[in-house]
Subunit: 269 residues, 2 copies
């Protein structure tokens, strides 16, 4: 039974759980080949991650934000967040970014094909961080970006060319499209597909795109620290952190003991 | 203001809403360049979607399912669902699949970096359908797969090499990891990272991978029909369809009128 990757994942989670010290910083900034060993990667040839990365300047980060905002109106949120970074990476670096399909995550808009799940900006942003830093660091960055998404009053970015004026920011306490856009629309007093909602979502795509690039820049300098405890470890199930908002005081217990998989790992099965 | 894409999207949604007849089938099986015009795509050069597709045989679909199940234990759910299809596409077709990074959506496991949002299998599956059929058809297929996920008693697939025996299936009524795995664990009586939960999620990754390939095969034959009304259109907000499960009888109204964005489009702004 090949639990090596799960083992590594759990080890990394443990690291994150303990709030990364110096050793954590070193481990998380090593780049490399993600969860495949070098031998495995060499075997598979092309298609390796990460792609080469060059730090964005402050002007380029702002430009990425403006591209993301503008591109919301071409392909919605997930396309916006990914294309904001990818457009500049294609210009700065070229291949393999040029051959990477810009529209790959367009389906993820509206919380995945409109189903209200994970905000599409976080899927576009996760692909961006994975492309540039590989699957392990890419996920560690995405976890921080999810936390930023759930805990910040958004949107923050003010685009050069807004398509609507908006009055309100709101904190979602959730990575979900439905809760994030729903709470904001209620506060702003507008409906779905109103000019305000569309511009708000475009600005939010810019925020996630830019935050991802800021973390990538830190990582490139060896300064990225994973600070956010992944909710799956905190709550013993993949989850948000605001259990009572949906469950009230009646939060279900998972029936079994959490961590039997970890025990299995430790016993070498 | 460039609302062309939004316009096309809304038209397509309208098409889906009305349940695709012959015209719909033709429109949705035309393949092509997704939401970019041919001129735009020619300008950008490489990185175009869709990649070439060849129909999977029944044996290959089953093999994809087994690869997905096995690969859950190497990179979790999203990696599993994508790699099940991609491994066979690399063997059948080669480039550009060989150069496409297999680990791209690993971060999406556990509902996006463990945050319990959209099940990672649906993100891996959405990338698979988008690669093979482009962003428009890829999303239409993903919408059907999301509906299959939310309405079916899962898992269905029985792998050649199960790593645990399981007793239970459950219907999530949701595309969310948290609800899907939570309901199943409660019914099975096991905890997170138990051998049963891990094998269940591996089987479910196989189900989403195989269902995506089945739809891609139908599309390749000109027989794919988009039948599921996207919840964003049904409920006037990106959402699941079981509003009362979280909201009880107190379902919030969006404050504004749905469709002002559509009105804006129609008035040519």
């Amino acid at each position: 039974m090949d639990f090596k990757m799960l083992d590594e994942e759990v080890s990394r989670r443990g690291l994150i759980k303990g709030a990364a010290g110096l050793a954590g910083v070193v481990a998380l900034t090593a780049g490399g080949l993600g969860f495949l060993s070098k031998a495995e990667a060499a075997k598979k040839g092309a298609g390796e991650l990460p792609f080469p990365y060059k730090k964005f300047t402050d002007a380029e980060i702002k430009e990425a934000g403006n591209i993301a905002h503008d591109n919301w109106f071409k392909g919605f949120c997930s396309y916006a967040a990914l294309s904001g970074g990818l457009t500049i990476l294609r210009r700065k670096i070229g291949e393999p970014y040029t051959s990477f399909p810009m529209e790959l995550t367009t389906f993820a808009h509206g919380g995945t094909s409109g189903w209200g799940g994970t905000c599409g900006t976080l899927i576009g942003a996760g692909v961006l961080s994975t492309l540039c830093a590989g699957p392990k660091i890419g996920e560690a960055i995405n976890n921080e970006v999810c936390n930023f998404y759930a805990t910040s009053a958004l949107p923050i970015f003010v685009p050069d060319h807004p398509k609507a004026q908006i009055k309100t920011t709101s904190t979602s306490n959730s990575p979900l499209c439905h809760l994030s856009v729903g709470k904001w629309m209620q506060k702003e007093g507008v409906g779905f597909l109103s000019p305000q909602q569309m511009d708000r979502c475009g600005r939010l795509a810019a925020d996630m795109c830019m935050k991802t690039i800021e973390y990538l820049n830190l990582w490139a300098d060896g300064k990225f620290e994973a600070k956010t405890k992944a909710p799956v470890m905190a709550n013993e199930i993949p989850s948000q952190n605001n259990c009572t908002e949906c469950h009230g005081s009646n939060i279900p217990k998972t029936s079994g003991k959490f961590g039997t998989g970890l025990d299995l790992l430790k016993s070498g099965h």
